[in-house]
Subunit: 549 residues, 2 copies
């Protein structure tokens, strides 16, 4: 049996595009003599469809397109992910399903049993967990078809609580009783740099434990905040990895089942953390623009490292001709800021404009003078500068259709060192899940071959340049100390008393966590943030606003 794994990039709700992609792949596989083509979880709808699943019309469309796709499966069989209506008397309205299509018809269906409902996942919002387990028989082989989380039954919690396993059922344990020849897992498993190794282990362990060959097909591409790395896998019955599909790009490849069973372990040179984050962010920006059919981007360039890195990523994702920069120095901008920013634009071949905001600042100041009288300057005046820049960026965006990219990093987003309706503005936050210490690593990664980002931008002390002589270090600890506290609290969800590290006192931990909690209200209004960790700000982290904690 020849099996084709189709690691493809889907667009949520775009049935025309997704079904065309699926049908083209089926036709090609059929031409190449493949017996079975496997697509990823909810491939027909794209993942995640969110509340579109609540609209009857959306589900009717799924069924209609599924019939069309089935019409293209002749001798070849296909496994396609799409929701199924729950025809039972009770329960949630839908199942998350793997449809088996062949002979021009819908032949069989398997339902997902374990529904991730944590972090960015909301599957129990829509789907009934299945308690029936069935095998698909095709061309003399028995296929155990599982959907993503179905094989993750043994995952541990990230942090210490009473129970050790999230699920009470093991779908594969049930399916094993039916003596399958092959485990198939269709996934929609988003990228997190903290999870790349553990993902591999889950599939190799399952194959080994049941002494069965296993194929896993993941989707690739970005849908708003979520970026899927692909990394589909073919695993032999000893847990040996026969094939690991590439990161962050579409890939379709076929394998003979006998060769999977007999195959040797192959070694794969995985990219490092920073390289994967870089590729994820580039794909995140690219897909956002491609799928929204946006033509071009605008970035406000301060001369600092965050906006410089953001411009590099945008330029790589879209090409320099589809990106423009706006430099908006004020009376507090350092001498080098404009020069550094201009040099960066020249290096990237990105066009730029310069508007000095001093006059606009004086005009606003004068408008407010009747109310403010002679009150001393404070963060009010700093915020006014950030908000004037937002007006200018959005004006260019509105007039020319350049989509504004937000350049805030995760460290400042965490502690609230950013201005709502100012530098927090943008359609998409490119770096909002990247800690400042990793911002530097990414900048050096980009400069590996040649100095694209002027070294001065990397070396200067971080400053918002909103008041005379201001430095980030005036009011924040060093970024390696800060990021270590943030990571332990946000990603690892450690209790305050367990947050430790060099130069980390309990007083500092309390001060930082207080800043995080006090700024939930700002993050509530932040743009969607490209997610690269296991706990990004946004949908996956739902903290109350009105709360005393």
């Amino acid at each position: 049996m020849k099996i084709t794994l189709a690691q493809l990039n889907y667009h949520v709700g775009n049935f025309d595009r997704n079904s065309r992609l699926i049908i083209d792949t089926i036709n090609q596989a059929e031409n190449e003599g493949s017996d079975l083509v496997v697509f990823s979880e909810l491939s027909l709808t794209g993942y995640p469809p969110h509340d579109l699943l609540e609209y009857r019309e959306f589900i009717d469309n799924c069924n209609r397109y599924l019939e069309i796709i089935a019409g293209h499966c002749l001798s070849t069989g296909a496994i396609v992910g799409a929701p199924a209506i729950n025809m039972g008397e009770s329960g949630k309205k839908l199942f998350n399903a793997a449809w088996f299509l062949t002979d021009g018809k819908i032949k069989d269906v398997c339902f997902k049993s374990l529904l991730p409902t944590y972090d960015i996942f909301d599957e129990y919002r829509y789907f009934e967990p299945s308690t029936d387990f069935n095998i698909i028989e095709f061309k003399g082989k028995k296929l155990a078809v599982t959907i993503c989380e179905d094989l993750w039954d043994e995952q541990d919690f990230d942090h210490d609580f009473a129970s050790s396993r999230m699920y009470s059922i093991s779908p594969m344990e049930e399916l094993a009783k039916l003596h399958p020849d092959l485990i198939i897992n269709i996934s929609a498993s988003p990228f997190a740099y903290t999870r790349t190794e553990s993902k591999k282990e889950i599939f190799t362990a399952k194959a080994k434990s049941y002494r069965l060959p296993l194929i896993m097909v993941n989707q690739v591409g970005a849908n708003t905040d979520l970026i899927f790395e692909g990394n589909s896998m073919v695993v032999g019955p000893n847990g040996n990895i026969i094939s690991l599909f590439p990161d962050f790009r579409e890939h379709t490849e076929s394998f003979e089942l006998d060769n999977i069973i007999a195959g040797d372990n192959n070694s794969f040179n995985k990219a490092g953390k920073i390289s994967m984050i870089h590729d994820a962010l580039v794909l995140g920006v690219k897909d956002y623009f491609d799928k929204m059919e946006f033509n071009s981007a605008i970035v406000g360039l301060s001369g600092g490292i965050d906006s410089a890195l953001c411009l590099c990523i945008a330029s790589e994702a879209l090409g320099p001709s589809r990106v423009r920069a706006l430099l908006m120095p004020s009376m507090y901008s350092s001498r080098h800021s404009v020069n550094d920013a201009v040099e960066l634009c020249n290096n990237l071949k990105v066009s730029y404009d310069i508007i000095n905001i001093e006059d606009d600042f004086r005009s606003i100041e004068s408008s407010l003078s009747g109310i403010m009288k002679d009150m001393p300057a404070d963060t009010t005046e700093e915020n006014i500068q950030a908000r004037i820049r937002c007006i200018l960026l959005m004006a260019v965006s509105n007039k020319f259709g350049n989509i504004l990219l937000n350049t805030s990093n995760k460290s400042e987003t965490a502690v609230g060192y950013s201005t709502l309706y100012g530098d927090m503005a943008g359609s998409l936050s490119v770096l909002g899940d990247v800690y400042k210490t990793d911002i530097y690593r990414l900048a050096r990664h980009i400069n590996k071959k040649s100095e694209i980002i002027p070294i001065n931008i990397i070396n200067k002390a971080p400053s918002a340049e909103l008041s005379p002589g201001q430095k980030d270090s005036d009011s924040l600890p060093d970024y390696d100390v800060l990021d270590s506290i943030l990571y332990q609290y946000i990603e690892q969800q450690k209790p305050v008393r367990d947050i430790k590290g060099e130069k980390v006192s309990q007083e500092l931990v309390h001060r930082i966590i207080d800043m995080i909690n006090k700024n939930e209200y700002k993050r509530f209004q932040a743009p969607p943030i490209l997610r690269i960790s296991n706990k990004a700000f946004g949908h996956g982290r739902r903290m109350p606003l009105v709360a005393a904690w």
Copy 2:
């Protein structure tokens, strides 16, 4: 047996405040000879605690305070809602629990079985559904303790799909087998004007069906977007309502069980829809400020009806001395706008300032002239005006600590007739779940006794006044037509083909729905919206941004 129902207002995560409230009520009930005091669902944490439940420290605090509260229960028993750690080998880490405290100790606990995971509810994100059912025995009575959704097993879906019931288990059916004397339901059921009648029916039907007395205790008060109306109930075994607690305020009252069983049906004059919405919004603003310890509010007053209504509600919630208004006319403001706004401030005794934004607009325009050249004016210039107003409002907010209230209504929020980082700014959206047609009804409701809102504000044709002679009706259908389409699509989730009404063509429906979908990205960055319907923008409506639909 004398039973006390405690309808109280909790603050999420504020264990000191919540436990003090609970202990004071227990002490008072004990003094009055009550046998049992019943508090609402998750009363100790406040509802909804969201991801605070994922922090081990938060749960440890729950347990610690629960012990303290138990120490105050002597002869009186108390039922308190708080999470419980799942001590089993598998499953989610917590149960949503009702704790039974008496004799100074934690005596017993019941776990929630049906976990709402739809709209604003995410309970399966945190809790394991219980499959065990136990009765609490106390002073010779058997108590069937249920938690909110546990009695909602028969609820229908709002719209047509295959299965007719969301849940496969009926907790009360299981508990009935244990022959209870009384049904207790502890709730955290937020207000929606569409649901007040159906809520009552659920409890009267359950009491009648099991021929048992029933008490339901709901929390009251607002936590960010969610407003809880209270309306706790005492129902006799014939389904007769013995007592219906007031809307939107704390209330504690005791009942003899024998009197509940023997009691007659009482009739209750319920407030109408508009009156309830009004009271909900006032409480929503009040609790937001009280619980966040914010002193005062600022409202940008345009002379239009939305900001006028918002100012009235803020003034009622906080008192006029804790509210200030800012009038920011431009060259496009109509002659009456400033006069009407000033008259309103005088009627309310709210202080105001006036800043003409024309100079700031000219300054920004001049800054942009190098880039814009002689391009014709479009929405860019309209947005600049809205964003200058945002800068001024936020500057006053930053300098004086007045919290900005957002004044957008649901109709314009739906179709995107508002400026991101402009009039979409604010800490809290007061009217974002109120359709324009209801905005008028609320204004007339406020003017019932005397003309607080100048009649000219109510009668003038709606206009954003951002370009010469602009009227909402230039590009939108009449608001009664628009709101009818919006309601059918948003609240009722009807398929496009089923959206009908006077002056409603399929072309118009398509155009409006297209506007709704295209503006998801704006609403993603909107402030939290006080929720008064069964489907508000925000947490309860999760639509994908990058999607073709």
